[in-house]
Amino acid sequence: MTGPLIRGYEVVIGLETHAQLSTASKIFSGAATAFGAAPNSQACAVDLALPGTLPVLNRGAVERAIRFALAVGARIAPHSIFARKNYFYPDLPKGYQISQYEIPVVQAGTVEIVVDGHKKTVHLTRAHLEEDAGKSLHEDYHGMTGIDLNRAGTPLLEIVSEPDMRSSAEAVAYARELHKTVVWLGICDGNMQEGSFRCDANVSVRRPGAPFGTRREIKNLNSFKFLQQAIDFEVQWQIDRQEDGLAIEQATVLFNPDTGETRAMRSKEDAQDYRYFPDPDLPPLAIAPQWVERVRGEMPELPGAMASRFERDDGLSAYDASMMTQSLDFARYYEAARDACGQPKLVANWLMGEFSKRLNTEGRDIAAAPVAPPTLAALIARVVDGTVSNNGARQVFDALWSGQGQHVDALIAEKGLKQLSDTGALEKIVDEVIAANARSVDEYRAGKDKAFNALVGQVMKASKGQANPAQASELLKSKLGAA
């Protein structure tokens, strides 16, 4: 379990990820969770911790935790306990966060990652339910900080990994895989800009064989890029200190994206005493086996199983299958298109090529693609039956994507891209080309393959690009006889 040494040191990383669960209402109140509402317009009495208010747990949050547990092969605690984590902060209305401490709802589990072609299993320690805090706005309010509690009470699933990762690349791969999983399951919208998926990285370094070094925790990284940059900087910083003979103190650390540096937070009470105790307002959460089985029955097929199925049934390569299962939306698109034209490999190629290129450039999800699966399937069918060449198909695709038209055949006709497949007409052109290019013919017969291509080129030119190149080649070969 060793990763690349950095300046002779082994890097040890564990991640704590907070995924906002996609419930309609908050974890302990009936207020809405939608992003972007006017400040404190989605903070009800419970969320504001007004005197006399009490929490009641949202079933939807528990269902999502169960789904997560099933996806990562974790154990679901038949009884788990909510505990109060006590500390003072303006965005924490009750002066405590309702979380889970000694007995979390999800225990253990694994996430498989691939880094540079190597597979690795990252173990999870636990995952538990808790409530999110509000937001502090430090923009100028007459020198004050503004507190918006809309986010307070949004359900979170805190997923804790073992310190199994040995490089920032592994950490990012794990974070990406976790992100994909929660989005795939439909339990989290994965919108990192909006704060739906946040990672804290626990980083330490040690000489190989030495005990674990003191770790520092980098908080609230909300992009994979920042995650990698922050870890990389922190590792160098920690190594520098060790090399200088200085101790590393446990600290909570923030990453500054502008400078690319990590910096210890201004004394957050170093080693806070949270005084956890079971929340007397919430009896133990019971999850019966029947509930788990019902959720299991309603689970979507997981990406790993689906990819294997594509490899086995559709003959896709492992890589292509993994690309087709990059998200549930992608997989659904692939299956729909494949079913419509019966050409799994071609569909995969198109999706990985033209499709993904455009999606990436335009920053779009496949769900927002302007070309629907039946349309793509129709286009592929026309390539397969020889109506259009690959080149022609690309032009049609362009037109479809930019909204010039919606019907494949209409566009083929409009753009005059229909290939000449009438053998009679094609033969006539081949004969004319052979007659007009005696030198190339001779060179070809003398063994120069380049000459053949020139002849094919002439046929294409004479047919104004409408000849089916494969057919043209065949005709030429048969007429010229075996060389």
């Binding site: 006399g52 009490l54 507190i147 005084r275 007397p280």
Partner: protein
């Protein structure tokens, strides 16, 4: 009988038969309340709204509408319950002037039953205290002797009912705060099983102990009120999921084997020897024993039982309750409501000063105790140990209930003490809670029933403790006793 001597049941009947109107009763009581400001029972008097409500109930009745037994009956609420339109302070400067946007469930249910709330009643700050001397807004005086305390924390509720300013009031009981003031003030009170009344809208002190309940001048009145106050509430995850209870009917239901002279035949009452220690004041002991003799006359059988960990209830309670309180009171930080200091240098200073200025001495003490016993390194020895002992105490009760139906004993070791008597030593007051704490820890229902008078003519209460959800049996036994005696009907001199 003067209007103010009528209890809830009698008033309900008089109102139903239109012998009197709600407006008349309310006006009459408002007059008495004004005249008795010196008692300190009320923090808010909501005269205009009360009269409006009374008027509209009178109109509905006049138009022929059938209304329930509580319709038009005046009450008031301990200021630990939040109420719309009237400030809710929980007896604390921290919440001076606080306007709640919602009503406590208990408040809403009583309003729905037609009760007319006359205002908010004084209490120990955040329900922490046994004498109502810890209110930020002045002490409450015992109508039986205005130099003495009425008990606490529901001191305002007890004093108002004893002084005949109200027929009934709501209170809360965490470690005895309904039973003890009822005992000290010569009235009847009941703390139901944990979970029977909703805690939604009750400013939280100790979440696993707090319970709402009525204080009135008879078991019957308590039964009527409790029926309306109680019941499952989906806003409280600790609310017991049971069908609505008619405690009045349960109170009246005859026991199997009962006869007119012996309504309590077959009832076994356990007397824990630990409830009758040598330190128990002679007057209390005598009065309680005499009352128990009455129960025997009514057919009950007294047996000796044991609650061996009674004394341990004190440290156990005073670890658990402050621990929960220290967390429940963390929301009072001057950010979203409540007192914020006028001057502070930064956020930390704002917290420190706002809380120091807003909380009284007893509250601060309990927050300190609670914070300490939960803190790193002490949790196992204190908090966890206390919760384990709590289980053992609850199990001890179950052992007893294997031998008896009810447990009885004194409510408090003495009668009400003089105002200021416990000032120097807060721990002394804790020790006096010894008899009420065990039932609180176990979550069992407990009643205080006026049993007679002790030193200085001060009231003495008899405590009755039942098994879970046996409020009906408790009320029945208390009712039988009150049919045979009149201690519960005596009026303090000057308040007739």
């Amino acid at each position: 009988m003067p209007l103010h001597q009528a209890g809830v049941a009698a008033l309900g009947r008089a109102l139903a038969t239109r012998q009197v109107s709600s407006t008349e009763v309310v006006s009459h009581l408002l007059g008495r309340i004004e005249a008795q400001r010196a008692l300190g029972a009320f923090l808010q008097i909501d005269a205009a709204r009360a009269l409006n409500t009374a008027r509209s109930i009178d109109e509905r009745r006049a138009s022929g509408q059938a209304l329930g037994p509580l319709a038009g009956v005046p009450i008031a609420h301990k200021d630990i319950f939040v109420t719309q339109g009237v400030p809710s302070t929980a007896g604390s400067k921290m919440l001076a002037g606080y306007q709640s946007p919602f009503d406590a469930t208990v408040v809403a249910r009583l309003a729905h039953a037609g009760c007319v709330s006359l205002g908010k009643l004084n209490c120990d700050e955040f329900a922490m205290g046994s004498s109502n001397e810890n209110s930020a807004f002045g002490p409450v005086r015992n109508p039986w002797d205005t130099a003495r305390v009425p008990g606490g924390s529901s001191g305002g509720s007890a004093a108002a009912v004893a002084a005949r300013l109200l027929p009934a009031a709501t209170g809360t009981d965490t470690g005895g705060s309904i039973r003890q003031p009822a005992s000290f003030s010569g009235i009847t009170g009941i703390k139901p099983t944990y979970g029977v009344c909703s805690r939604w809208g009750m400013v939280a002190f100790a979440s696993s102990l707090d319970q709402a309940g009525p204080l009135a001048r008879s078991a019957e009145d308590c039964a009527l009120l409790l029926s309306a106050m109680s019941g499952f509430d989906e806003r409280d995850a600790t609310s017991a999921e049971r069908p609505p209870q008619d405690f009045h009917a349960q109170m009246l239901a005859a026991r199997a084997g009962a006869s007119p002279g012996t309504p309590l035949a077959g009832l076994h009452i356990g007397l824990p020897r630990e409830f009758f220690p040598a330190a128990l004041a002679a007057d209390v002991n005598g009065t309680v024993r005499a009352a128990l003799a009455e129960f025997e006359k009514l057919g009950a059988t007294l047996i000796d039982v044991s609650l061996p960990r009674t004394e341990l209830s004190i440290p156990v309670y005073y670890i658990i309750a402050p621990a929960e309180a220290s967390s429940n009171l963390a929301r009072f930080d001057g950010v979203r409501y409540g007192h914020r200091a006028a001057k502070y240098s930064d956020l930390l200073d704002m917290y420190m000063k706002s809380r120091a200025e807003g909380f009284g001495a007893e509250v601060k003490r309990r927050i300190m105790i609670g914070t300490y016993v939960l803190s790193h390194g002490y949790y196992d020895a204190y908090y966890l140990q206390a919760q384990k002992l709590r289980r053992m105490i609850a199990d001890d009760f179950q052992q007893c209930f294997g031998q008896c139906d009810l447990i009885a004993g004194p409510v408090a070791p003495t009668v009400a003490w003089k105002l200021g008597a416990q000032d120097d030593d807060p721990v002394k007051a804790y020790l006096a809670d010894i008899f009420t704490l065990p039932a609180s820890l176990a979550g069992l229902p407990g009643m205080s029933v006026p049993a007679g008078f002790g030193a200085g003519g001060m009231p003495v209460g008899l405590q009755l403790i039942g098994n879970y959800f046996t409020e009906g049996q408790l009320l029945h036994a208390a009712h039988a006793f009150q049919q045979a005696t009149d201690f519960h009907a005596r009026t303090p001199r000057g308040f007739e």
